[in-house]
């Protein structure tokens, strides 16, 4: 009965999740800023705390749209010219996570350092 296994797994997961969520619920998440200038990230390396949800504000100062994307921490958001976008990231384990500008991947590359 594969359904029973699915239901059981979902239950276990939900229980584990509730415990984690209780820890994760905290005050306003810390905020970090990132700019896109000439299809490059400024700064190209951003350090954020581990095991914490953070608010990332990405400002696109270019005249063309960019898509902020990361496979390493699974985010994607189109940021229109001369505007800012808020992206919530994490909680993540310590490590290096790459992100890039999907529309200009040749130059728009960055690293999120989680520690």
């Amino acid at each position: 009965m594969p359904y029973r296994i699915f239901i059981f797994l979902s239950g276990v997961l939900a229980f584990a999740a509730m415990n984690t969520a209780r820890i994760a619920v905290a005050a306003e998440p810390p905020s970090f800023r990132l700019a896109i200038v000439n299809h490059r990230f400024q700064p190209a390396t951003l350090t954020i705390p581990a095991n914490t949800k953070v608010k990332l504000v990405v400002e696109n100062r270019d005249a063309t749209p960019e898509e902020f994307e990361s496979n390493d921490f699974d985010r994607e958001k189109v940021i229109l010219p001369n505007s800012s976008a808020v992206i919530f990231v994490g909680p993540l384990r310590p490590g290096q996570y790459r992100f890039f500008g999907e529309f200009n991947p040749a130059t728009a590359q960055g690293v999120l350092r989680v520690e």
Binding site: L13, A21, A24, N71, D74
Partner: protein, 279 residues
């Protein structure tokens, strides 16, 4: 030009794989080519409108309109697929039987078509709007070879979709609708998990913890097989608990729904039940 082709390819392949599964799942339904084409047409039109209104969408819901919009599109597609597989569970058997028997056009009714046209339109709309914004940016930035890159990326993406479609057609008819239903359920589960990512990104839902595991070194989502598996079965290298939860819940709900719909109503003789289902 290659950079343009590559991005277009990445977006087109996602929509193309979804369209292929839908095309296979509606095998034998009359006027399905027209329906699929109109789905693609509505999708392209929608993509242009979404790209035009991107600024307005982004400003909605205090800045997370884009995420809410994407999650809404994804969840709408999940609902449509759910509707389809449950409908197929109650009508699919006779559909397969008639196709095997005479091989003539099946009078399947409008239900699977209308619903799946929406799925196709939503897939094209979502990926297409990104292509439009990207091309607009390239155009504004003065990049050359736009149409060549667009054509190349489009052709490559459509080719992969056609390969999947003709591959699926080789499945024996006896197992065919079972296979396409399983594919649709996995597709829906992946879309539901993707919707969760957008809602977490907008801080409307909690991630429920850190990513559970990391198979990025084995299979990157950036690679072609990784991306294809992401669309087809919802593969994610680093799933968060809420993604896994949504994935499991979708598979469970759709499988159970299918099983119940496939069961003849209680108290009816098989003959009567079959007649009731046909009407």
């Amino acid at each position: 030009m290659l950079a343009i082709a590559l991005l277009v390819f990445r977006e087109v392949i996602e929509a193309a794989l979804i369209v292929s599964i839908v095309a296979a799942a509606t095998r034998g339904v009359p006027r399905r080519a027209a329906a699929l084409l109109s789905g693609i047409g509505f999708g392209v039109l929608g993509a242009l409108l979404v790209a035009l209104g991107a600024g307005r969408i982004a400003a909605l819901f205090s800045g997370v309109g884009q995420e809410v919009f994407n999650a809404g599109v994804l969840l709408a597609a999940v609902l449509m697929i759910a509707w389809h597989v449950v409908w197929m569970a109650s009508h699919g058997r006779e559909l397969a039987a008639r196709m095997q028997g005479v091989g003539q056009a099946v009078r399947a009714g409008a239900s699977p078509l209308a619903v799946l046209v929406v799925v196709v339109a939503l897939a094209v709309l979502r990926e297409g709007s990104e292509v439009v914004l990207f091309l607009y940016g390239m155009l504004a930035g003065g990049a050359g070879h736009l149409s060549a890159g667009l054509a190349l990326g489009l052709a490559a993406g459509v080719t992969i979709g056609l390969l999947l479609y003709f591959g699926l057609l080789r499945i024996p008819l006896r197992h065919f609708f079972g296979a396409t239903n399983a594919l649709l359920i996995l597709l829906a589960a992946g879309l539901a998990a993707d919707a969760m990512v957008f809602l977490v990104q907008a801080d409307l839902l909690p991630a429920l913890g850190e990513p559970l595991w990391n198979t990025g070194a084995l299979l990157s989502e950036r690679s072609l097989p990784g991306q294809a598996l992401h669309v087809l079965v919802g593969y994610t290298a680093r799933p968060t608990p809420i993604q896994l939860l949504a994935w499991l819940a979708t598979i469970t709900l759709l499988s159970v729904g299918m099983r119940f719909a496939g069961r003849p109503a209680r108290g009816m003789r098989p003959e009567a039940a079959r007649r009731a289902m046909t009407d």
